[in-house]
């Protein structure tokens, strides 16, 4: 295992200390239990957005705490959803009386821990709306399974709903916007390499130099299928087709195209892949009205990418363009 770390048991704490040292102007970092809160929270009269999940997905979620996005984020151990006491403490810290939205990626662990946290919050009279993100088209949904994973669309929900909350919209509306974005967003990911959970010390899976994993999530897990390594053109076509056909996105739609790196893939490759995506969508008559290119929701140092498409409407565009000031996303201010 080759990482810029000290003891693997201290990675999350030391990362949080780094964030605290770097971004004191934006966030307060709490260590017992772990959570990152907006420096100016609670923000009077504003619905508070709280998210969280395992660490190893940086900048998500801690890097999205700040004006126009999240009020708090709860980091768990690497790839391990945080515990209810973290969400409860974070929720209390940022609750401004206008209610809370818990943005929960649909993983059994995240769901159950946030559920317990919401029960605790409600038992103390705080209004909590929980919204589930489940945008991963690689997973076939069904009543009898855990359903689809929450991946790339999470970033877009946090930005768009964050802007809505910043405008002073009420709890129900902010929660509905989250659900509407989730309903209009679809994603798929692939991996060229595995990643190594620091505490595990070795790659989660072995993969040959001429193979790739298609339909991965964001926890270093193998995907739906292993296949021979293909060109960027073929890879993007395969993933984008699955994404487009699932919603489906159709001719004339305006979309936000999010080309995400998994952590170990450099920008030069993401732009090559984005070129393929833009050609593919043009071919389908779908217009890219907004885009986001970079590593925003990652799996440690895994090499690979994910494609997220969000069907846009005028309100989504307006909220996407609204000012945001976080360590991970910033514009308009």
């Amino acid at each position: 295992m080759k990482k810029l770390i000290n003891d693997s048991a201290d990675v999350v704490r030391e990362e949080l200390e780094g964030i605290a040292a770097a971004h004191a102007d934006l966030v307060d970092v709490h260590f017992d239990p772990y959570y990152i809160a907006r420096a100016d929270a609670p923000v009077k009269g504003k619905v508070a957005l709280v998210s969280g999940g395992g660490s190893g997905h940086e900048p998500m979620h801690g890097g999205f705490v700040g004006m126009g996005m999240l009020d708090a984020a709860c980091p768990g151990e690497v790839f391990t959803s945080p515990t209810p006491d973290q969400m409860e403490a974070a929720s209390k810290a940022v609750d401004a009386g206008a209610g809370l939205v818990h943005i929960v990626k649909n993983y059994t662990g995240d769901v159950m821990n946030f559920e317990m946290a919401a029960e605790l919050c409600r038992s103390e009279g705080t209004e909590v709306e929980s919204v589930l993100v489940d945008d991963d088209v690689a997973v076939q949904d069904s009543l009898y399974t855990a359903g689809r994973r929450g991946v790339g669309t999470t970033v877009l929900i946090e930005k768009i709903a964050g802007a809505a909350a910043e405008e002073g919209r009420p709890l129900k509306e902010v929660a509905d916007i989250c659900r509407e974005v989730n309903a209009n967003g679809r994603s798929m990911g692939m991996a060229l390499t595995s990643c190594t959970v620091p505490a595990a010390g070795k790659p989660t899976f072995d993969i040959a130099d001429d193979e790739m994993e298609i339909g991965i999530g964001i926890h270093g897990e193998p995907g739906r299928e292993r296949m021979p390594l293909k060109t960027a053109h073929d890879i993007v076509e395969m993933m984008a087709s699955a994404v487009v056909d699932d919603l489906p996105f159709s001719k004339g739609d305006k979309v936000l195209a999010f080309m995400n790196g998994m952590g170990g893939t450099p920008l030069i490759e993401l732009y090559v892949a984005y070129h393929e995506l833009s050609k593919f969508l043009k071919g389908r008559g779908i217009e890219i009205a907004r885009n986001l290119i970079g590593s925003y929701i990652t799996s440690l140092e895994m090499a690979g990418c994910s494609i997220t498409l969000l069907k846009l409407n005028d309100e989504f565009v307006r909220l996407w363009d609204a000012p945001v000031k976080t360590a991970g996303l910033r514009w308009g201010v």
Partner: protein, 211 residues
């Protein structure tokens, strides 16, 4: 025979040690069909739980289980945290105020614990989860006791049923938890949670069996 407060604490010690010894194995199983953290998480949680449990005022068995459950919930995270946390919290509910555990107490406690885990996780037998080890263990214990088998032997049969249940997860295609994302690819691998649940029931039989 019934299980004393000391034996309960010594089981928590043994289970903690067993999870520590099998941390790498459980994590490897989770690498194959999950995210390579089950052993790491459960080990972190049980170390913390044991430390807390040792500070509980002697006497109340239920209080020990509750403390373990609360600590697991607040230190493990992932799916394992709420599920094992609920399991121990329910053991605590069923044994609240008791200074020792008789066979019938354990039958009720284990039944409540399994019910709690299913209420949390909505998993059925065959979904390739810890339930595949826990439910058969609960049933085998009940059958044995109904058949008038001794508590010691009933615990042994319960552990054997858990082991079978653990093995039974190998061919299954997961319908719950992270492994379900793999679809068909999840078949051919033993479920990590079912494995840790087998270790739980095995250590119960080992520690209380020679009580």
């Amino acid at each position: 025979m019934s299980v004393s407060y000391e034996e309960v604490v010594s089981w928590i010690k043994t289970f903690t040690g067993t999870i520590a010894d099998n941390k790498a194995w459980l994590t490897d199983l989770d690498s194959a069909i999950g995210d390579a953290d089950h052993g790491i998480n459960l080990d972190r949680g049980m170390q913390a739980a044991l430390a807390k449990a040792e500070t509980v005022a002697p006497g109340d068995v239920g209080a020990v289980f509750k403390t373990v459950g609360m600590t697991l919930v607040s230190t493990v995270g992932g799916a394992g945290g709420p599920l094992y946390g609920t399991l121990f919290l329910q053991l605590g509910v069923a044994t609240a105020g008791k200074s020792e555990i008789a066979a019938e107490d354990w039958r009720a406690a284990l039944a409540g614990a399994v019910q709690g885990v299913q209420a949390r996780g909505k998993a059925e037998v065959g979904d390739k989860t810890m339930i595949d080890a826990l439910a058969p263990a609960r049933d085998a214990l009940a059958q044995a006791l109904d058949a008038g088998v001794s508590f010691e032997d009933a615990l042994r049969r319960s552990a054997e049923a858990a082991e079978e249940g653990m093995r039974s997860t190998i061919p299954l295609v997961a319908r719950k938890g992270r492994a379900s994302y793999l679809g068909e690819r999840s078949a051919g691998h033993q479920d990590p949670g079912a494995t840790s649940s087998y270790l739980l029931l095995k250590t119960v039989a080992d520690v209380w069996g020679d009580g």
